[in-house]
């Protein structure tokens, strides 16, 4: 009898794990393996290829169209394919098409195309054992369906509900998305004309780059905010100004603008308002003479960088405009706009800002200094270093085609590992409400894009503007700026992006992306017109009301509206010079 040697348990475990992994890979490969049509063609078998590209009446590619080649009388198609994102398609055949073959192209919201294959194509295939034929561009005509009207009404309803604050913007966007899905799936049972878009297609409209960039920046901001650097900066502004109101407001505006450019204007105002209120009240200056200029500067300052405003993040991701591009093409214009704004602010609040300050008592000064201290110096320099490296990552990333979300995620993760903050606290710091709003909004805007509303708006604008780039920039800067005075700028920018893309493609000089910068300026600067024009305005008003200094709609408008149009004018002139559009 032979005794078997004892089994090496470790080795066995390792082997069994390895076998399991191999098995999983084999199963995975088998399940995911989808033989292509080309691969189905056996060696020596003939292959005939018909290809082309689908475009709409604005020469924009049409994806997700169903293309079939059918022989007369036959139920089964000879070949079928779906058009890609760039509108291209190709049909593969193993034998030459018959003379009765018809190309059948179907796509929701477009007129169906039926194209019999002409003799030229048939001759090519019949004269050889294999061959390819490119039909070229095929234009499909838009069709206005019930789905179009339903999607348009839903979209306008969402904008209206957000503007009137009847629902939280996230709830409004989710309600809009739900209605789109209900109309699509229930309405379709009655008539295919009710179709808007299905969920799978709606998901393709979500810009994940935006979602991850916003999320990572939220973590970075949440860590930096805890250091108290904003309050410290505001207090230094007070010290530098030595109580002179006019100098104090200019320094505070500059600090707020820079902070908004590097972080975001909403958070900047959340942190700057309480300390600015204290400084203003302590000095005997109407605190609103400091705070309203600050919020105006925060809305404009954010325009100079990719991460300064949510609208810039949207624009950057959509149009592939990087951190450096925004800096180079916007910063000087924004600085000039801030200077003009500063001049107007000094004039508007001259009675408050040029009066002799009553001074602060030593007790109040000490308390103010205490409230404005750097709370965690170690965290500040570490987070400052990582943040700087993240900005460098944005710049370098452009050279190596790395999207900004990547350095942002790396920066946020580095801070989480290095500083070891409470991860639960950090995850809570991410404002999921805003992220869900973005996702739902992308899908609702996708719905109106799908049904053709965006194309109609673009065509109408194109009809007004013609081929004139100066006029196009003017219309976008002032048109979007005026709309943004009353409409929330995020949904507005998200809706306008495809319109601007279409205009950029049709107007000579559009490849410089000047229209996207015009959109960036219009959307952000317009937020200064009314109190309801921007979230930073509203939250600032909420805080000042807590300190017995409420900002009325009228008071804000009296300074905000002139500032809006002054800065829009500066922005327009700057873009005209920078991109030499005349």
């Amino acid at each position: 009898m032979i005794n078997k040697p004892p089994l090496n348990n470790k080795k066995t475990t390792w082997r069994s794990r390895f076998s399991l992994v191999l098995l999983l890979i084999a199963i995975g490969t088998a399940v995911t393996y989808q033989p292509s049509q080309a691969a189905q063609t056996e060696p020596g078998q003939a292959l005939f290829l018909i290809s082309g590209q689908l475009v709409d009446n604005l020469d924009q590619p049409i994806p997700a169209a169903e293309i079939k080649l059918q022989a007369g009388g036959a139920d089964q198609p000879l070949a079928e394919a779906e058009s890609q994102e760039n509108g291209s398609w190709s049909l593969k055949l193993t034998e030459p098409p018959p003379e009765t073959a018809v190309l059948h192209i179907e796509r929701a919201h477009f007129q169906t195309l039926e194209i019999p294959l002409d003799d030229a194509i048939l001759d090519i295939f019949h004269d050889s054992e294999s061959g390819t034929y490119n039909i070229g561009l095929l234009a499909m005509e838009r069709r206005i369906t019930i789905g179009f009207w339903a999607a348009t009404l839903i979209f306008l309803g969402v904008l209206l509900v957000i503007a009137l604050e009847k629902l939280h913007s996230t709830t409004a966007a989710l309600a809009g998305l739900s209605l789109v899905m209900i109309v699509t799936f229930i309405g379709q049972a009655f008539s295919p004309d009710w179709y808007i878009l299905d969920f799978e297609r709606a998901l393709t409209y979500i810009n994940w780059e935006v979602i991850f960039l916003v999320m990572a920046m939220m973590i970075v901001v949440a860590i930096i905010e805890e250091t108290g650097v904003f309050q410290w900066l505001a207090f230094q502004a007070y010290r530098l100004s030595r109580g002179r109101g006019w100098l104090l407001v200019l320094i505070l505006m500059l600090v707020t603008a820079v902070a908004s450019a590097l972080l975001d204007n909403f958070t900047t105002m959340l942190l700057m308002t309480p300390i600015s209120l204290q400084i203003g009240i302590a000095l005997g200056i109407n605190p609103l003479a400091l705070i309203i200029p600050e919020v105006l500067a925060s809305n404009v300052g954010g325009i100079s960088t990719l991460i300064g405003t949510p609208t810039n993040i949207l624009i950057g991701a959509y149009a592939d405009i990087g951190f450096t591009d925004f800096l180079v093409n916007q910063t000087i214009g924004i600085l000039i706009a801030l200077a003009v704004m500063g001049g107007y602010i000094l004039y508007h609040y001259r009675q408050e800002l040029f009066k002799n300050s009553s001074g602060i008592s030593p007790v109040l000064y000490t308390r103010l200094e205490e409230n404005a201290r750097i709370e965690e110096p170690a965290v500040l320099w570490k987070s400052g270093l990582v943040f700087t490296l993240t900005l460098v990552g944005f710049v370098l990333g452009e050279r190596y085609h790395v999207v900004p979300a990547v350095p942002a995620i790396i920066g946020a993760t580095t801070l989480l590992i290095w500083l070891k903050p409470d991860i639960h606290h950090m995850i809570k710091a991410v404002d999921w409400t805003t992220l869900v709003f973005f996702m739902a909004l992308f899908m609702v805007v996708g719905a109106v894009q799908e049904v053709g509303l965006i194309s109609i708006i673009a065509q109408t604008l194109s009809g007004i503007i013609g081929q004139s780039m100066p006029l196009a920039v003017f219309v976008i800067v002032f048109g979007v700026g005026t709309l943004s005075v009353a409409i929330a700028n995020i949904p507005l920018a998200a809706s306008m992006l495809p319109v601007v893309a279409l205009l950029s493609g049709s107007i000579p000089g559009g490849s410089s992306k000047v229209l996207y910068y015009a959109l960036s300026m219009g959307a952000a600067m317009g937020g200064n017109g009314f109190l309801v024009g921007g979230e930073a305005n509203l939250v600032t008003a909420g805080i000042t009301a807590q300190a017995g200094s409420p900002i009325s709609f009228k008071e804000f408008m009296k300074v905000g509206l002139p500032v809006t149009y002054l800065t829009l004018l500066v922005g327009y002139i700057w873009l005209a010079i920078r991109f030499a559009i005349f």
Partner: protein, 166 residues
């Protein structure tokens, strides 16, 4: 000793009301406490990225505003106390009245532009002082515009609209 409570937001329009409370404290030789109540519910309607918790910042702001009121009282020879609370105005006010045993409450009018009507504001104040037996003075620009006397077990509640110089 009489205990006067003066809930205040600390803005420019609150200063005459704080001064009125200081004068009353001097006149009655009473203790004076300034109260600031912050409420971050206004943030619930905001759609911006809510990354930071500003409750602490608002508390610091409240402490600073009350320090200014305290400074004014000190200049008038009154050593005032300060209390900062968070949350619902009516609940916090009721709790503080009971906590410090305030028998007089001096408060300003409803702030303009906040959407709070005078009726609802007065109703909130009346409810807050109802079971505490505190006397309520509603002042506007240093003048009493409303006086709410304490409830007696045998007498009906007395509410007067008054307007006279402090």
């Amino acid at each position: 000793m009489t205990m006067i409570l003066c809930p205040t937001r600390g803005g420019q329009s609150s200063i005459p009301n704080q001064q009125w409370a200081i004068s009353l404290a001097k006149e009655r030789n009473a203790s004076l406490t300034f109260l600031y109540i912050s409420n971050v519910r206004f943030l619930e309607r905001a759609s911006g990225p809510m990354i930071v918790d500003i409750s602490d910042k608002l508390d610091e702001m409240g402490e600073f505003l009350l320090a200014m009121a305290q400074d004014r009282a000190a200049q008038a020879g009154i050593a005032a106390e300060t209390i900062v609370r968070q949350g619902d105005f009516q609940e916090a006010l009721t709790a503080v009245i009971q906590e410090i045993g305030a028998d007089t409450v001096v408060i300003g009018q409803a702030a303009r532009g906040t959407g709070v009507t005078t009726e609802s504001y007065m109703s909130i104040l009346a409810d807050a002082v109802k079971n505490t037996g505190a006397e309520l003075f509603v002042v506007d620009e240093g003048q009493v515009v409303h006086l709410h006397s304490p409830v007696s077990k045998t007498q009906p509640e007395e509410t007067n609209e008054v307007r006279h110089e402090s």
